[in-house]
Structure formats: C-alpha cells, structure tokens
Symmetry: C2
Subunit: 245 residues, 2 copies
C-alpha cells in the first residue's frame, strides 16, 4: 500500500474570474473544490485510479473533516493526527483572459510537540504496511523543518522507496534524508543547488551532481520543456503531453 504524508493539509478552492479589481462584486464562472497538499493530492489521484493508498499527516477542524471525506469518497484510506486549528483552505484565483493565476494561502493547523510525537508513533506503525512512501508539500507552523529529514530517513531505513516533493527549506531538509525520488521544478532545484537552472542542459548537469551527492533520482519539471529524469544509469527527457482541454 502506498502511504502519502501531508503535514500541512489543505483544500484548494479554485475560482475562475474575468479579472480582479478592488471594491467590486466579482462573479466567478466556476468554483471548484479540490484536494490541496501535494501528497494528499497524490492520494486523491491514486484513489481515482483505484490504487490502494492511505493518506496520513496532520488535520484539523471542519475543513479537515471535509478533506478526509473527499479522500474516503475516492476510496483512499486515511489515518490523520487530529490537531487544533483548522486544515487550510487555499484560494486559487484563475484569470479567464490569460492573466494567469494566483493562490491566496493561509496558516491553519496548530501543532504541538505532543502531536509531532503522536505522528512519529503512527508513522512507524504505518511503515509496516507500506510498499512505498510519498512525502510532500509545505511544513506547517509548529513543526521543525528537520522533520522532513527524519521522515524520509525513517521510511528509507524501513527499506521502502520514498518519493519526495516540496519547496523551500523543506525541500533541502527532505533531500538530506536521501529519498529515492525527488520531483523539484526549475525554481526548486535552483534553490537547492544554488545554481540558476533554466535550460534542460543545466538541469541535467545540476541533477547529475545532486544525484551523485544524495543517491536520489531527480525528476526535474521544466514547465513547457517537459521534464528531465536523472537516474543512476541514464537520464530521460520527458516531453510535455498534449492534453485536450
């Protein structure tokens, strides 16, 4: 069974609008609720695909309950540590006239040391039934960044493949734990390596260096350029699929 770990659970509410201006009532043409949090989102997709998986992490409040219900409705299993506060609702605003999109993000979970300890125990138990561990997303207030190092290491020590996807300081901490696979985008790998990765060539060079250092396979997403998978023996360029919208 695949275990996904989302420390900072959230629901994404995506709104489509013509444009944003102050002091207006702005009518949304679509208002869609989706799973937030990289790892829980993976569970949601795995559930849809009928792949046996369990989502864990921290959750809170009515939004947490709704998030759990959304996962259960797709056939995922869940086992969260329930904390104070509220699972976040992030608001994704998409401009219909090609403006792009922006995300309004909030803090929500209130996590104490006791909760972290409870999660450690739960995680150890869950690893016994895991075939693969997927860890991702941001780290909530109250949890030290080094917790990602700990989690990746624990799963690795249990002999399990670990897939890791996060940004910022959390990315660095997780990579220190030597995951099997990491999926940074160009911004994230630039931050991780201290080099400005913009081309597929620089991604290959930096990815290879990082692979040597950590043993991690890096799948680097390059936006419209697709992705580059830097593995031990060889690397693969993954072109962008054309998806009818």
């Amino acid at each position: 069974m695949i275990i996904t770990v989302t420390l900072n659970t959230s629901i994404d509410r995506t709104l489509f609008i013509k444009d944003f201006a102050w002091n207006k009532t702005i009518r949304t043409s679509q208002n869609v609720l989706g799973m937030g949090g990289k790892a829980a989102d993976a569970s949601w997709v795995l559930g849809e695909l009928g792949v046996n998986n369990l989502a864990t992490g921290f959750a809170a409040g009515d939004t947490g309950k709704l998030m759990e219900k959304m996962l259960l409705q797709r056939g995922c299993k869940t086992d969260f540590v329930w904390v104070n506060g509220e699972t976040r609702t992030n608001i994704v605003v998409i401009g219909e006239n090609g403006q792009g999109q922006s995300t309004l993000v909030s803090n929500g979970l209130e996590i104490g040391n006791r909760n972290v300890d409870e999660f450690k125990t739960k995680f150890t138990t869950l690893l016994q039934k895991a075939s693969c561990v997927l860890i991702g997303g941001s780290i909530p207030k109250g949890v030290d960044i080094s917790f990602y190092t700990y989690l990746v290491r624990q799963a690795g020590s249990a002999g399990l493949p670990v897939v890791f996807d996060a940004s910022g300081p959390g990315l660095k901490a997780g990579i220190e734990g030597k995951p099997t696979i990491a999926k940074p985008n160009v911004d994230e790998i630039s931050e991780l390596s201290g080099e400005n990765v913009t081309t597929i060539e620089s991604a290959y060079r930096v990815g290879t260096e990082l692979h040597k250092k950590y043993g991690t396979m890096f799948v680097i997403t390059l936006g419209p350029e697709g992705a580059l998978a830097v593995l031990s023996e060889r690397s693969y360029r993954i072109p962008v699929l054309k998806v009818p919208v």
Copy 2:
C-alpha cells in the same frame, strides 16, 4: 420566535491580504469564516445575543451542513429545505493597505419547482410559531423573483411584522409584497425609485414617497452619513456610531 428566510444561503470566507497581483502566492494575514446571506447572518447575530430565532431557506452540500452547524453553535434553530448543488462560499478579499474589499461570488444551489413547493409548505407551518419574519439576500437560480412578493405577503397576511433586505430585482419584488420595514442603502433605494438618491434630503423625499405608496417603513442606510428611518408619523436620522476597532 423570529424566523429568518435565506433563499441563497452562503458562508463568507474573509481573507486579508497586502495586495492582489497575478501569478503570485499571496499570504493571507487573516482567514475568517463568517455567515453569509443577509437573513441567516441576522440569525447568527441574534443567536449570539441570545434571542430565540429559527433560520430557514434553501441549503445544500457540505457547505450547507457547515453553515447549519455554525448557526446551531450559536443557539439558533434551523429548518432548511435541502436541495442539490452546494451552499455558496463567497470569498471576501480585504486589502490591508486601504484598497477596500472585493467579493468573489458564485452560484451553488440547484433548486427545482419541487423544492420551492416544499419550502412554501414549510414556510406556512413556520409562520404559526413566528413573532416576526426577516427575509433577505439574493435569489438563487431556479427561484422566480416574484417569490419574494409571495413570501412577504404570506407573512404579512399572517399578521406578522416583516423585515426585508435585498438588492436588485429581488428588492422591488419584495417591496411589492409591502413589508413592514425595508432596509435599502442609497444605491438600492435609487434603483427602486428610479431617482438618484445621494443626500439625506433626497433620501427623505424618496423614502416618504415610497412609504406612502407601500406603507413600508424605510430605514435607508447612507454609508458615512448614518441612516434615515422614514416612519409613518415622523422620521429619524441615525448617526453613525463610533466603534473602536
């Protein structure tokens, strides 16, 4: 018992941000859930004040359940007609640097004729325990605007005082039913009367005319100028209260 009628129930999620720009991750400094829908919001406040009240109208989905829970937690009674779709979540974005605010509004409820009939029956029953009826907010898709005329008349025929607060075409329809009190703002009374009400003097003149026509007492809110209550015998100017924030 005060009965409040909210046809288009909603929850308001209010986000405080420094500014809005496209293609950014924008951190919110506050993210507050409140009651939306003018009449349900009145219930929420009445509940907080310990005044016996019941909220009715149309509700749907998990957001409807959450809305109902929020009312129950404040000691309100509830008796909604449950329909398809989802009670709306309106997103109120407030600029912290004095930009003002904007509201992103959505459709959500899916109401059929059967639901409207069910509500009529419920409303007739509820009127028997009512001491006052408060009707307000927008009219959802699937409900004819004339429904406001019907509701206000039904409550008035039952000998109950009716307080009414709505915008746009719904306002006109509700006023046709001759409510006891209506609370338009200057924009709304301008639309209702076809005259451009901007000053307290013009509000008095137009309010008096409308009062003669409908018998309704108009409490016209004038923004920073406070409000003007146009009653049968006399009118009152209500200055703005200074509230420490």
